[in-house]
Symmetry: C2
Subunit: 576 residues, 2 copies
């Protein structure tokens, strides 16, 4: 592609609403154009990368035995009513069409694929079946942000598998998990496969994993140890605290004045004790799905430097939702905010003690009255009644479950999610097939997503520097940025020859033949981030008949004769 004829424009200014590097760089490099809040048009160079990502995804899924189809973007409300999700999907754009029918712009397609499935598959002999599409989706977020990372309209690959039993589902799940690994490897990414939470979508035994691209700006915190081959989303992570010594001599309680000190930090620094020798008391309210089960308040006990993992609490209780108690609720419970302890409790407040707490240890806790704390509170002695439960959020410095490895933290961007749905949708929609014994059963499903446009943003979050994007070679908008600084007719003719030679050698070349100086061209080249830059300059070529090659990723540069240009680029590309 000749830039003098291209539709491309870079920008010096960063748009005010672009706060993360991928958003800033995609706008500045002329890859996307904002059409409205959370709505981005994909410009030619941006679209080229998106299509390369799509094709890698397509190739690996086809290799895994999946069949591609394409479902409508607008889907009828009746399908969503069948599964019972019409009223539950909050970020779905719903409306009535001109015929007065309920329709929506699908954010996901479990219902639509199940509807297609039931028209085609009647018997276990046709199973397993793997179907996918790459399509535009819409999530009506009120405050979209971060460019393609959290756009409202986005491109997604969604796959769905159908199985006769759970062994078949497990096999299909592993098959897709491997395909996903191959995909993200081919995309040139540093990523983690982490255990995720099944949430409300299936029962807790269902397998589910996230594919997380490592990046400083990642929204998710991951807990991992590479030696132990362990990685998990923080909220799902199973670790234990590294050993801590507690004073288990059960000394007598001692009340201390702690005026205006309502935080663990203040109290422990005042008392000159480490935070883990204090107990953090949290009051939570839990509500339940079951109509006949009332909501309840709970007093939670955690080590002073630990945080609550709300997911663990929710799962332990089997609750629909948990939330911190409000200030007035604390008052009603007779508790003084900032000075709570697990004793002298007025109401039947259930006490849950985190497993990291040594029940015989001596801790500093709130004195149940304003401006006082108690030292040497010993849970086994001083708490009337309690259950010990794993409640804490895993963190850096913890040990793996076997106690052998210390885990670390890293931030990630979720670009893929795979999920065992079970018979949730097939049951709700009354979809059955005949099994080996001629009995009708509800087939089991798996669903598997990759955010295509989100992945492009994640690539840039992982691979960029202060000058611009650093594309992995498999998904760069082109291979080579050929900047000609030639002024003489002779060198201009040579530039044309080189452009042709590079193309004939199978490279996709962006030929910067614009009337502009080297500084301008190099800046655009660095911003766009193609793997290799080739420069033809009057001076270098005039002196030694040499061209310059610069590798975007490493910054290495080479002076090279025209004859060796192609072979040197091929050699360098191999290393990328």
């Amino acid at each position: 592609m000749r830039l003098s004829k291209a539709f491309w424009q870079t920008f010096k200014e960063t748009p005010a609403d672009a706060v993360i590097p991928s958003h800033q760089l995609m706008m500045r490099a002329g890859l996307i154009h904002k059409s409205g809040a959370g709505l981005y048009n994909y410009l030619p160079f941006g679209l080229k990368t998106i299509k390369k990502v799509e094709n890698i995804v397509r190739e690996e899924l086809d290799r895994a035995g999946c069949h591609e189809l394409l479902m409508t973007v607008v889907t009828p409300g009746e399908l969503w009513r069948e599964s019972g999700r019409w009223d539950k999907m909050t970020e779905m754009l719903k409306f009535k069409d001109k015929g007065g029918r309920d329709v929506c712009i699908s954010p996901t397609n479990e219902e639509a694929i199940s509807d297609i499935f039931r028209k085609t598959v009647k018997s276990y002999k046709q199973l397993p079946i793997n179907l996918y599409q790459i399509n535009t989706k819409f999530r009506d977020e009120i405050r979209p942000r971060f460019g393609l990372m959290r756009g409202r309209e986005f491109i997604m690959k969604d796959a769905y598998t159908f199985h006769i039993d759970s062994a078949c589902l497990d096999e299909g799940y592993e098959n897709l998990k491997s395909a996903y690994s191959r995909i993200f490897k081919r995309l040139g990414l540093n990523f983690f496969i982490v255990e995720a939470d099944a949430g409300a979508m299936a029962d807790s035994s269902a397998k589910t994993h996230e594919f997380q691209v490592i990046a400083d700006n990642g929204e998710d915190l991951l807990i991992y140890n590479q030696e132990a081959n362990y990685a998990s989303n923080q909220e799902k992570a199973k670790t234990k605290r590294a050993n801590i010594d507690f004073d288990t001599s059960k000394p007598a309680q001692e009340e201390v004045a702690t005026p205006n000190m309502s935080t663990i930090e203040d109290v422990c620094s005042f008392l000159k004790v480490p935070q883990h020798t204090s107990i953090k008391s949290l009051v939570y309210y839990a509500s339940y799905h079951e109509e006949d089960k009332d909501g309840e308040f709970l007093l939670l006990q955690l080590l002073g430097d630990d945080e609550l993992n709300e997911l663990k609490l929710t799962n332990y209780l089997g609750a629909a939702e948990v939330r911190p108690a409000a200030d007035d609720e604390l008052k009603d419970l007779g508790l003084v905010k900032g000075f709570i302890g697990a004793f002298n409790l007025k109401n039947d407040l259930k006490v849950l003690v985190d497993t990291a707490i040594d029940m015989d240890g001596a801790f500093t806790v709130g004195a149940q009255k304003e401006d006082f704390h108690i030292k040497n509170f010993v849970p086994s002695r001083d708490i009337k009644e309690c259950e010990q439960v794993d409640l804490r959020l895993a963190k850096k410095g913890d040990l793996t479950e076997d106690g052998k490895h210390v885990v670390d933290e890293i931030r990630g961007i979720e670009v893929g999610h795979i999920f065992q749905l079970g018979d949730m949708y097939t049951k709700a929609m009354g979809i059955t097939v005949l099994d080996q014994n001629g009995k009708t059963i509800s087939p089991l499903m798996g669903c598997y997503g990759i955010g295509i446009t989100r992945t492009v943003a994640a690539v840039i979050e992982q691979l960029h520097d202060e000058k611009g994007i650093i594309w992995p070679k498999n998904i760069a908008p082109a291979d080579i940025y050929f900047a000609s600084i030639a002024k003489s007719d002779e060198l201009k003719a040579l530039a044309e020859d080189i452009y042709k030679e590079l193309q004939d050698s199978g490279f996709d070349v962006v030929f910067d033949d614009r009337k502009a100086g080297p500084g301008f061209k190099f800046k655009d080249s660095d911003l766009l981030g193609l793997p290799i830059r080739v420069v033809l300059g009057e001076k270098t070529y005039g002196e030694n008949q040499e061209l310059e090659i610069v590798v975007r990723k490493t910054g290495e540069s080479f002076k090279i004769k025209k004859d060796e240009l192609v072979s040197k680029i091929k050699e360098l590309m191999e290393t990328l």
Copy 2:
């Protein structure tokens, strides 16, 4: 692809709502699945054809120097307000998003592309520029029908060009017109390029053409003569009537009783005269865009066997809209329905006489009173005041404008439309570039559409028989339908070998390895319509070690040894 592992199912029954062959066959052949009114999911084989069509379009547009990008499906209302179209677009699905902003699902993208253009192009030096996308579109028809032919959601290629002046626009227009011709040729279609009507989209001097696929079920009637290289949409066609003799002796008027005969047919058959010696009187009401111009009634005179072309009337008057007068309006004008003549007119009714009428000829007309007509009405003598205007609809048997060729009629399906928009959108949206003299001017635009999914339906309308689809080779879901009727292990192994050999020879093969009889397989094969069927049967192979090749298009069949199979198929494919 092995059918035993494929996701494919044909159907014997034709859905009740499928009334045209393309809709029926696509449903029965398992190419599409109905998700809701006017909403169709594209199943694997359907999607393969759609992608092949897309790729041919893409290749030819890229060759024509166009740049591909992708605009959002959901676009903000503010853009449409800028051009003034927000309130005018009736079949656009508009709604408010969760943030309370006006958005719509774009049925077309002039505003969006202009918005992208103004961010990137500032000078005539960057022109011309050709941009296109292939994307999902939505047209909210209340009663969608005909499957993909008139679906609500559909895939469309829309291209837009920008130019500094009209010479440049003309050049760009011809460039795209040629690309379109190459596209439809490569799709294997019999098509016409016809002159179309500019309608409300631009001034009447703007060029516009439709690409029409010839098919019995076409919605459009085309007027053409191939020798004269002439083709036009009927409403835009410029022809003249073949010569007719009129009695120009100006005989005296004669009143005849025509009881209960209010149609031309009845009167002429009663009087035993040809219909073209009668005059058809139509009363129309025309309204105007200009606020200060009142609507008016018009009395139109056409030869008895001609029809009015409303578009010609509208354009002649410069009217906003024309419509036939209602019965009560006729009464108010003092006219008797079925017996109207252009004389004794009570009101100031303007009379327009079609140019095909000889003003000195003698005609039968209504007598302005119930149950009577007048013979020998001579317009030049008997009409008080009139204008002679070209009003008639062109038809089969007319002559080309030069009088040298007789035109014929044929039905077509519009699959492409190209259009010179001029500065309509750039002016409305205040988009300018600097011209050669440093002056700001509004660039000129062209727009160019191809209905991708509609084209697939049109292909089937043109190419099918009672057994199923007959795909052109370039866009068939695959090249070969290989039906193995092998029962013995030896022949089953041979079938595997042949499947491999065909694939290795570069063919895309559907291998019917299902447990089913020959009749079942042949029916599915004919319905799906791949260009070549290969059959391995116990009997034919057993007797002479021969396979059978059947050409779907011609029905020819060949018995062939395995060694010659690939070369014979290659030879046959060349002829398709």
